[in-house]
Structure formats: C-alpha cells, structure tokens
C-alpha cells in the first residue's frame, strides 16, 4: 500500500490509507445523548445523519447557531465520545488510517492522537494544566510522538514557537500568567507541534477581542499552510469563515443544510437559512433594517418531523413537514437540502431511520 511521504507506517500507529485520498470522510454519522433520569428516557439528537468530506490541505468551515450540534459533532469526530453521548450509527474515516475511527483500539487511538489528529478548542481559558508550566504540557502531549531526547525535543519546540512568532520564555510560564490571546496562540502552537495531518478547531476565536482574533486567525492560516494540515473549523461567526474557510457547511439542529465553496455560499446561498445568515451580515454603506427569523432552534430531544427548519422557514411547503430533504448536489461542489431550491431534491432515505429508543419528551 503506497505510503504518504511524511510518515513511517509501522513505527507509529495504524496503517495509513492510499495517497490522494480524502483527509476525512464522514458517512451518515449519528450521535445522540441517551439519558434516563427518574424514570424518564430522553434522547437528544445532537448529530443526526451527517455526511461530508474534507479534502487534503483544505479548511472546511462549519457554521450554525448555538446548540445546533456543532461541538458535539466535533467531539464525535475526534472520537471523544463519553456517555451519555453515544455513536448510534455511521462512520468517520480519516485519510491517515485505513479503518473507521470507531473501530480503532485505545492503543491505536492514542498513537494517532496529536500526531495525526489534534484539537484546538474554544477560549483556551482552562485547557492547560493550571499547576504545571507550559513546557510540561508540551512534554505531555508531544514528547512521545517526536521520538527525540529531551534536549533535542525542547530545541524543536523552541524552533516551532519561533516559526509561529512566539518567544521561548512562554514555556516557563504558568497558564494563569498568560493573557487570553497568548494562551490561545500557545494552544495553537501546541496543537501543531507534531505537524498533524488533521486539525479540529472549535470556535478558537470566539472568546477573543477583534484585534487578537485577527492575529490568531493569521496564525492558524500560517500554521495550516506551513504544515499542510487539513482542518475542520467550527464557528458561528460568518465573518471568520469568510476569512479562513475554503469550503463551508451550514449546520442546523444536528443536520447539514448546505455545503459549498465559501465564495458560493456568500454569493449564491440556496437554502433559506443560509440566505438569512448571509443577509444578516452588515455591509459597509448598507442602511436597511435586518429582520430576524421567527421562532427558536428546535429542542433536539423532540425535533420537528420532516425538515428541521420548516417551523421557521418562510418557504415551507407540505412536503417539508413530511420528510426530510436529502443533501443533493445542485451545482459543482454545491450541495443543498431544501425542496424549494430545486425539484431535484428528494426526501432523504437515511434521515428518518428510527432511533434506538423512543423519545418520550422533556424531563419534568
């Protein structure tokens, strides 16, 4: 099996997949929170039948409001699934591994974590061990992968920091001694030190002010270009996506509504929800009033039948209330799940598969 140029298959972890393959392929992934409490069963459908691919060396953005399931999706993709979160069905396959990530043993998972797949998280206020200096975090996360002696390791770390324009003395600090922006940049350096194939970024700029945001985004872009990682970037902020994402997927209530290259999303949104998101961004010189959508995002424990968006959709038809539309390719690289976008869109075969437990409604 041909090997990717950068790695040594037998020494670290499971075997990689073929050259030229996708960085990540997600198929019909479902992950629910299953809970029983005082006699009541509850099932929150946070990730409900999502299929997408991320190509090598691209940044795929996911946009959506709060509680649409973005973070759960990322946790699931990173195989950080702890009860009550359970993977119900589907698969997620990375380019550097020949099997579904859920089929890997704990030892194999541990081998690929950080070396192949790393994670940048929101806020980074509290992601570093507060009682240890920053250098210890680097040792904990990366030392076992780099296979260098201590001195060479720290030299490599300092070199890496320099490339990302951070000073080496940040290593001697405790996390609480760093500012929010600094912490985020250190975390990005930490996440990229092993030159991973895939980076998952969960709202990395959300808790920062605009000026720091600009720096952090530049750093992320820089790192991605230098090390050639593929990225899944999640944020609700459309302007950040405009800045950094190559392709964009719009998520709502646990489902993907639309997916296209970023330019296309902004120029030609085909789903009413996307159109609303794009229209709500202020443009220079614009003076018109912005309308907000009526209603609120659905309760994921008891989502509406059919298309999840239909209660708030100005274009809702009868068929929208019956069956969920399938994500259909309507233009090159542009997929949409909306009946009113085109008659080509048909009901999804996979979306309405019954879940394991019958949802019984809300907890008292």
């Amino acid at each position: 099996m041909p090997q990717s140029g950068r790695d040594n298959a037998s020494a670290d972890g499971p075997r990689p997949a073929a050259e030229g393959a996708l960085a990540l392929a997600v198929d019909n992934l479902r992950a629910y929170y299953l809970m029983h409490y005082f006699g009541v069963e509850r099932e929150v459908r946070a990730v409900d039948d999502i299929s997408l691919v991320v190509r090598r060396n691209e940044i795929y953005g996911i946009a959506g409001e709060s509680s649409c399931g973005k973070t759960t999706f990322l946790k699931t993709i990173a195989a950080a699934v702890r009860p009550p979160l359970t993977v119900i069905g589907g698969s997620a396959r990375y380019g550097f591994v020949d099997r579904d990530i859920y089929a890997l043993s704990p030892a194999e998972l541990s081998a690929i974590r950080w070396r192949r797949l790393s994670y940048i998280t929101q806020g980074s206020m509290n992601v570093l061990n507060p009682v240890r200096r920053v250098r210890q975090s680097f040792v904990d996360f990366a030392f076992r992968h780099m296979k260098l002696n201590r001195r060479a390791f720290f030299a490599a770390v300092e070199q890496h920091l320099q490339r990302l324009r951070l000073t080496a003395n940040v290593l001697d600090a405790y996390p609480h001694e760093l500012s929010g922006g600094m912490k985020q940049r250190v975390t990005i350096a930490l996440a990229t030190i092993c030159h991973p194939d895939f980076i998952i970024a969960d709202e990395p700029t959300t808790a920062l002010d605009v000026i720091v945001q600009k720096d952090v985004l530049a750093m992320i872009r820089d790192a991605q270009q230098q090390f050639g990682s593929s990225m899944l970037f999640v944020t609700h902020d459309m302007t950040v996506h405009a800045n950094i994402a190559d392709r964009l997927g719009i998520m709502y209530a646990g489902r993907l509504l639309e997916e296209a290259p970023t330019i296309e999303i902004f120029k030609n949104p085909m789903h009413p929800y996307t159109a609303h998101l794009v229209a709500s961004l202020p443009r220079i010189g614009e003076q018109s009033r912005k309308e907000s959508l009526s209603g609120a995002p659905p309760n994921l424990a008891d989502p509406p039948k059919g298309c999840r968006f239909h209660p708030r959709c100005p274009l809702a038809m009868d068929v929208c209330r019956e069956a969920s539309p399938a994500l259909t390719t309507l233009a090159p690289g542009h997929r949409v799940a909306c009946y009113s976008a085109s008659p080509l869109v048909k009901p999804s075969a996979t979306a309405e598969r019954a879940s394991r437990a019958e949802p019984v409604g809300m907890v008292p």
């Binding site: 950080a80 974590r113 509290n126 570093l128 061990n129 507060p130 009682v131 904990d140 996360f141």
Partner: protein, 334 residues
Amino acid sequence: MAGYALYVLRRFGQFLLVVFVGINIAFFVTHATPIDPITSAIAAATRFSQADPQAVQMTRVALRELYGLQGSLWEQYVAFWMRVARADFGPALSAFPTPVSTLIWRALPWTFGLLSVATLIAWGLGNLLGGLAGYYRRNVMLKVFGVVASGLQPIPNYVMAFVVLVLFGYVWPILPITGSAQINLAQGWTFAYFHSVFQHALLPVLSLVLVGTGAWFIGMRALVSNIVTEDYVTYAELGGVDHRRILLSYVMRNALMPQVTGLALSLGLIFNGAVITEVVFGYPGLGNLLIRAVYAGDYSLVIGIASMSIIAVAFAALVIDLILPLLDPRVRVA
C-alpha cells in the same frame, strides 16, 4: 517572595489571635461561673470525714494561691497570662508537686504520634483510593469500597473505638487494648520496646483510620469527579496523554490543594477524635490525662490541657496554611 513573607506574618497573627482567644475563653469560663472551685475541692476532700475548721481555712488560702485566685479579677488575669507566657500552669494537684507542663510534655508525644500516624494513613489512603474511584468509575472493587466507606464514615470516633475494643479485646483477643507499651518493659531505643509500642498503637490507630479514611475517600471522589469534567482534563484526553499521567499530574495534583485545605480545617476534629480514642484504649496521651484530671478534680491540669490542645491544633493549622501557597502556583499571596 515579599508577598509570601506578608502572608506568613498575617497567618502568624491569626495563630496568635486563636491562641489568645482560646485561652481567654478557658480563663473566663472558669472565672465566670458561680461555682467556686475551691469550695468544691474542699467539699470533695472533706466529704467522708470531719475537718478542723482552721485546717480548712489554711487549705483554702493555699489552694487560692495555687489556683491563682487571689486578688481582683484583673490581677488574676494578668498573673495568669504571665504564667502562660512562661508555659507554667502551676503544679498538678493530683500529682503534686509535678508541674502541669511536665505531665503534658510526657503525654503529648503519645497523642502526637497517634494523631500523625493515623491522619497520614487516613488522609493518604482515603485520598488515593478516592481519586482512583472518582477517575475509574466502573471499577467494582472501588465501588464496593465506596459503599463500605459510606457506611463507616458517619460513625463517631467513640463508637468506632468502642466497637474495635470489643472486637479485638473480647471477641478476638489478639492485640493489647490498653497502654502504650508493655508495662514492665524498659523505655529505650530497643527493638523489643518499639515492637511493643507498635502493637499497642495498632488498635487505636486502626480505630481512627477506619473512621477517617471514609471521610477523605468520599470527599476526594466527589472532588475528582468534578475535576474530570474540567477543560484541561478533557483536553489532555483529546491529546492522547497517557491515562496514568492524567490521573497523577492533571487530576490528583489539582485535587491536592482543596484536600490540604480541608485537612487544615479538620484538624480540630481530628485532634478531638484522637483524644477520645485514647480514653477508650487507655492510651497515655492528653485525652486520658484530661479525664483523669477531671476525676481527680485537678483544676490546673484541666486548664493546662485545654489550653495546650488549642495551641497544638492552632499550630498545626498554621503549618499547613503556610505550606499551601507553595503548592498552588495560582495563589497570589500579595
């Protein structure tokens, strides 16, 4: 570093305050009562016999001087504090003329030894097992231990000591149940002596450990369950950091501070438990000394022990409070 020096000063000030207030309470409790200790002492002495009124009067004067009860309240107060400053609580009536301080110094090492050993084991073991139980939630053995700990924890020290005494003294008599060492064995740095001391300490320590471990276990388990949901732990798991490393360096190390603080706050109760256990097992520490002093009506000794207890516990709390900032880099002591 200047911040730490200031902290030490402030904390030491608190220590002095505690000692001052505590001993004042002891003083005023004894002096604010309508009961005259001298009258009760004399009544106790003359209960079964007639006494020459002149002898009674002389005894009264002597006792008055001994108890430091002559002069006005203010003069007594000043005299009392001057003696306390010299650690002089006067002679012990029940062991006249041995000074109270001597008796206390003889008993203190036994209490201290019992206390430290039992606390170290209970705190250490309880925290270790509690940490494991909080992290490895599915482990059956740890769950069983948790149930046992919950069952043992609410039982007060006296009852536990009593049950241990009955179990090992009567039902299954394999260990000695009184004293600190074999009576006819000479004190000294010999193996035989240490062996005997060890044997005699086993039951009191066991009793204290049984009660104490449960409390630390349950507290630590709850603490660890919360820490496990902290961002830095989930991030470390996402990073594939070795689980043992996470347990030690991320979870336990962060649980350490609250538990050390808890130790400082519980010292009063722990000392309490040790003293009570001594009484049950006839262990020659402060507890036993206190009880015998009460039975003998030994005023000076009782006040001495009460004061000494307060000082000892306050001091231990001071030491722990001074160590705490050194453990936690986040605490800014400025």
